[in-house]
């Protein structure tokens, strides 16, 4: 009888401690408003649709009511829904704002009106760094292509091969992949290699994030400093 009680105790301990519970990731970030249209100048007498995205306090894109404005409507005018019209030669600052309770979010770009529409900077460089004990380092170039973006890693790229299930993401929250775009599994662990990602705007994401899927932990990241 005593032994039976002990066996029941064993099973009880097992059942009590083996339930699925919750782990939490600290993923709070500053909410931001970002103009995603990447232009340096706009052709006179032409129109151009501007876009912007509001990212909440976990980096999740949220539909909000935006307000567009121009610093000089005689040079560039802009409608409530972001349709800009180049009226005369000159320079203007296009702004977008969103107000939530007492907090105001704003972004702006400076645009000139000229003979042709010219894209803004569409190639930046950065560095991947490890945020864990696993080796992860190297320089990269992030550039816009006709169909999306390219991420090209340089010769100094090096990643630990000890980690299972290493994946690369584009994210707006460097601590979470909740609303991130999965680029794919890491197949190259050193040296030059390239990822081509379609249907992504150049400044749609802010970070490259390396994440170990089986352990569900972040391994490293690199900021996209536009």
């Amino acid at each position: 009888m005593k032994n039976l009680k002990f066996i029941i105790l064993i099973i009880g301990v097992g059942l009590f401690t083996s339930c699925i519970k919750d782990d939490f990731v600290e993923d709070t970030i500053e909410a931001t408003l970002r103009i995603t249209t990447n232009l340096e100048s706009i052709e006179i007498n032409s129109k151009f649709q501007f876009d912007a995205m509001y990212l909440n306090n976990v980096g999740q894109e949220t539909d909000v009511q935006l307000e567009w404005s121009s610093s000089d409507p005689d040079v560039i005018s802009i409608s409530d829904d972001g349709l800009a019209e180049a009226i005369s030669l000159g320079t203007a600052i296009i702004s977008v704002t969103y107000t939530e309770a007492d907090k105001r979010y704003e972004d702006e770009i400076s645009l000139s009106v000229g003979e042709a529409t010219v894209q803004g900077v569409n190639r930046i460089s950065g560095n991947i760094t490890s945020t864990s004990s696993y080796v992860l380092e190297g320089a990269f170039v992030y550039s816009e292509t006709s169909s999306g973006v390219d991420v090209a890693f340089m010769e100094d790229y090096n990643a630990s091969t000890a980690l299972p299930g290493l994946y690369l993401y584009l994210s707006n929250n460097r601590n979470s992949i909740a609303d991130a775009l999965e680029i794919g599994a890491v197949e190259t662990f050193s040296g030059v290699h390239l990822y081509s990602i379609d249907n992504v705007a150049f400044n749609e994401y802010k970070y490259l994030v390396y994440f170990c899927k089986p352990f569900n932990v972040k391994v490293g990241d690199g900021a996209l400093n536009f």
Partner: protein
């Protein structure tokens, strides 16, 4: 090669062995049988640099039957059957929104079965025994949405182990000291391993209670595959190694039946869970 998840989970099984072990084969027709529960829950692991990194909280629970039975006075058959093995991972939630980012998952299956033969090479004051253990891949190698849950490693391994030891008196107490060296030959791209162990046991209360301490070392030959050399999407981890220290108590509540409890943990490690493991069990010893 099959998708193989982390050896972290599997390696921890070794940390707190429930085996009686040692260089002493069972006498012919005698045996030792044990029903045990072994478990660990870990939210950190040792990385390949030996440092500790966090991971999603993971639990492994094994309910197993272990048996030694003397076929002859020198040859003993050894079987370990984890007939219920549970592996789970917690939900991952946003601390900001409380929304689930990754759903927790669990599997409950049979684990990998070990079959072995122990042969007593010498008797006398310091007996020596040779044991061949075959690891049968009966467990689940990859379940859940990411194939990250497993109760087995999917490989057939063969371990050859040499045990030596002896009994002595520690004052008025009976005691024993044993050690082993083994080589574990693994398949499916896993690295081979060198295994070393030392165990000291002391019998108190007229040998009704045996307290033992175990030191186990696993050194990887690091001659297997890595994430770079297997297919790109494989969830592969290899080259696990560790040094663990454990204590266990075995109390005879009747002449032949007893209960046991133990705890063990890693002193250092690479690609292994960084948390203690526990075991409780009930055993039947035909030798008393």
């Amino acid at each position: 090669m099959k998708n193989i998840f982390n050896i972290i989970i599997l390696s921890v099984f070794v940390i707190c062995s429930t085996y009686a072990g040692g260089p002493w084969p069972q006498p012919k027709g005698k045996g030792y049988f044990k029903l045990s529960e072994w478990w660990t829950v870990f939210s950190e692991h040792y990385t390949d640099t030996g440092a500790k990194d966090p991971n999603l909280t993971t639990g492994v629970f094994n309910t197993a039957i272990y048996a030694e039975y003397g076929l002859t006075d020198r040859l003993t058959t050894v079987v370990n059957v984890p007939f219920l093995s549970r592996n789970y991972m917690n939900n991952l939630r946003s601390a900001t929104t409380n929304e689930i980012i990754v759903n927790g998952e669990a599997i409950n299956t049979i684990g990998d079965i070990d079959l072995g033969l122990k042969f007593g090479l010498t008797k006398g004051r310091i007996p020596i025994a040779l044991t061949l253990t075959l690891g049968i891949p009966t467990g689940e190698t990859g379940a859940g949405s990411l194939n990250a849950l497993q109760t087995g490693d999917g490989e057939f391994n063969q371990m050859l182990q040499l045990d030596a030891g002896g009994g002595f008196n520690l004052g008025k107490l009976s005691a024993y000291l044993s050690g082993f060296v083994g080589v574990n030959n693994r398949t499916n791209g896993y690295s081979e391993e060198l295994r070393l162990g030392l165990e000291l046991g002391v019998g108190i209360f007229n040998q009704r209670l045996w307290l033992s301490g175990r030191l186990n070392i696993v050194e990887s030959f690091k001659n297997g595959d890595t994430a770079e050399t297997v297919t790109s999407t494989s969830l592969f981890a290899n080259n696990s190694e560790f040094t663990t220290l454990g204590i266990e108590g075995n109390l005879y509540v009747t002449k032949n039946i007893g209960i046991s409890a133990g705890v063990a943990g890693a002193l250092r490690g690479e690609i292994i869970a960084a948390a203690p493991s526990y075991t409780v069990g009930i055993f039947y010893d035909m030798n008393r």
